[in-house]
Symmetry: C2
Subunit: 457 residues, 2 copies
Amino acid sequence: MTEKKLFLTFSILNLVFTVYILCNDSTTWSPRWTNSAAAEAEDAASVSCSGHGRAYVDGLGVLDGNKPPCECNNCYTGKDCSVLVSDCPVDANSGNPLFLEPFWRRQAEKSAVLVSGWHRMSYIYQDGSYISEELERIIRKLHKVVGNAVTDNRFIIFGTGATQLIAASVHALSQINSSSSPSRLLASIPYYNVYKEQAEFFDSTHIRFEGDAYAWKKSKGDDNITQVIEIVTSPNNPDGKMKRAVLEGPNVKTIHDYAYYWPYYSPISNLTDEHLSLFSLSKATGHAGSRFGWALVKDKGVYEKMKRYITLSSMGVSRDTQLYVLQLLKVVVGDGGEEMFHFGYETLKKRWEMLNKIFSMSTRFSLQTIKPEYCNYFKKVRDFTPSYAWVKCERREDPNCYEILREAKITGRGGEMYGSEESFVRLSLIKSQDEFEQLIDMLKKLVSQEVAGADSI
Amino acid sequence: MTEKKLFLTFSILNLVFTVYILCNDSTTWSPRWTNSAAAEAEDAASVSCSGHGRAYVDGLGVLDGNKPPCECNNCYTGKDCSVLVSDCPVDANSGNPLFLEPFWRRQAEKSAVLVSGWHRMSYIYQDGSYISEELERIIRKLHKVVGNAVTDNRFIIFGTGATQLIAASVHALSQINSSSSPSRLLASIPYYNVYKEQAEFFDSTHIRFEGDAYAWKKSKGDDNITQVIEIVTSPNNPDGKMKRAVLEGPNVKTIHDYAYYWPYYSPISNLTDEHLSLFSLSKATGHAGSRFGWALVKDKGVYEKMKRYITLSSMGVSRDTQLYVLQLLKVVVGDGGEEMFHFGYETLKKRWEMLNKIFSMSTRFSLQTIKPEYCNYFKKVRDFTPSYAWVKCERREDPNCYEILREAKITGRGGEMYGSEESFVRLSLIKSQDEFEQLIDMLKKLVSQEVAGADSI
């Protein structure tokens, strides 16, 4: 009887095992041609870089069959980025938005995308355009959930970064009225240096960079003939302030650069509704490397001219990039931006608290201040937490602030790059946590010298 | 005894099963965060489109949770592309290189790439550049295995398609000597229309498109002062012939557009060794949609100017695209290009045989002819099998060849777009097999009318 029972038990057990194995082999999803790509990605992601770097599938040496190496954050070195270089200079120059990287690492599963070797080989999507309709839809959705821009009755154009769209929009607007003299491109000081550099480098016969919009208003305020294009960056790069157009009139066209108009950096205080606005993936999700931006355009003629510009300069944006961006924005829009914007905002808020604390102890250096405003996104009054510190050296004996900071081993960008004075420097606050902490350490040192210096007087 | 044996057998079996399950769960590779991306890709790839279309992961409606729909080849319709539209007009206009799609479908596993949500978010690679070193290496390797270009002592620049690099190189060369009058851009007729369109649209003060290089040589052959840039497209678009520079002299700069210099289209008769050459992924692997091209540049000054152009227009090429291209080229270089170039060449060879057969029956239409040459890649004398048929309408009463073909439901590109005469039309031969077969059918009809007409006389 006992043996019979045991026999029965074993039989049942065997049956259960057999069914388990069969089911496991047949009904669970078993990847096939995607196997090795997935394994490669997992391998790279599993390389440990001590939290101070990361390895990428296309890292140096992978063609030789090597495991992708760690690429370390600034001031970290060693095979696994575990060695901190002491007294290492801080790079606060670039607006590299790596502060959002931790968020995307947490969203590993949802944000991953597998590109097949035959993905959209054609020049065109099925509607004959260079633009993914699904991506266009999700961009409209993104603006809706954030509440930063009206997208109804707007054309959308994609660019290889907002960079390409700045050039395209300036070019399109400069060709609206082909008067004999070129259109003047203006922006109020301090302004993003690329506006000037592009206009001067591309040397179109139809455009000339003319500098400060306020200066123009003062000297040529009555000129209703010369065609003028003003770029309004709001929040502004470098100082994070909300900007409005300085110029108006029948001869004035305006481009609104809203690259920084996201809840991380500033309150979303109003739903913008302009003729031509630019946005950049870099500052929206942190993917600067993907080179993706978009424009919202009201006027059909301007839209057509911009489209022609994008066609002739690059025949649109890479279709694999468009697929990638779609996947990223699916994650963002999925929860109404909740997790990403909160994470990013909390990160920058903490950074600004630390920064303000340091600068509050200084009379030699000052920071920009911006009054809190109500944010329609977070539904509360909140501080501005801009991407950049716009530092001023207050002493007469410190005319060149960039140099002062550089001596203290902090590399920023000098005010003159923004049409402003050398007493200003822009410091990037949106890089990795490591880099921000290095910046804080160096700033502490610098400011403590000042206090110590005052004590010794 | 028998029961004991059975008992033992069952025990062992249970042990084996247990071990199997444990091992299966722990030691085989089990994908984790890559799971759903892989499943999504497999799902899309498994959509059946009757061999006349394909579904992509970012197809219309996926945001609503729908399965990606079939996107059908021209003249096919229905949910699964199984319905052939009768008497449907043929589109032989675009140089969409879908003839290589079947190759990439066969290479599904090797060519797939999984992009993580935190892939290279930074503006720069670790060396501070916008260029993947591994990708640069494999491009040099590709040229080595094909034998179409010297890459030693050359700088490599990436562009958002060769399109962007045409603009960048023309711009760079026009700024070498800043004389008061603009550089003249020339190309010998028939030439690729984008050269002209870019120069005219971007309206740089330093460049003016001047048309035919032969005409310039004839009228200004002695002018050693005016700065001149000649673009040499070889094999040529539209007619597939090998071209040499027409102009020379101290005031002449040359850009070699080698977009079509791959074994599919022409014999690789010599290892090119020029100052500035352009290549395009579109015509090399068929990935027109990925917008990727590269330039080989000898002179450091020109290289720096081109780099500056790429920086100011787009801050380099999307890092996810660079990863994708690396994966594709790994497949190609893996077997020395063997499989891809053979497949592509055999495809075009068959297409040209069919085409030649049809045109041999016509006196009304003629095709370009190019003498066979020895190909260093295939190690044999072989025919040219260009991407495009350069059709001439031979009759006086057919002055506009584009219109003649359009009436016969074949859309090509008129000769005047290439600076040539209206008696020429370019027909694309590198689209999908479906589209080529439609073209052949329509051409047969057209030519048979001619024969029937002759019979009736």
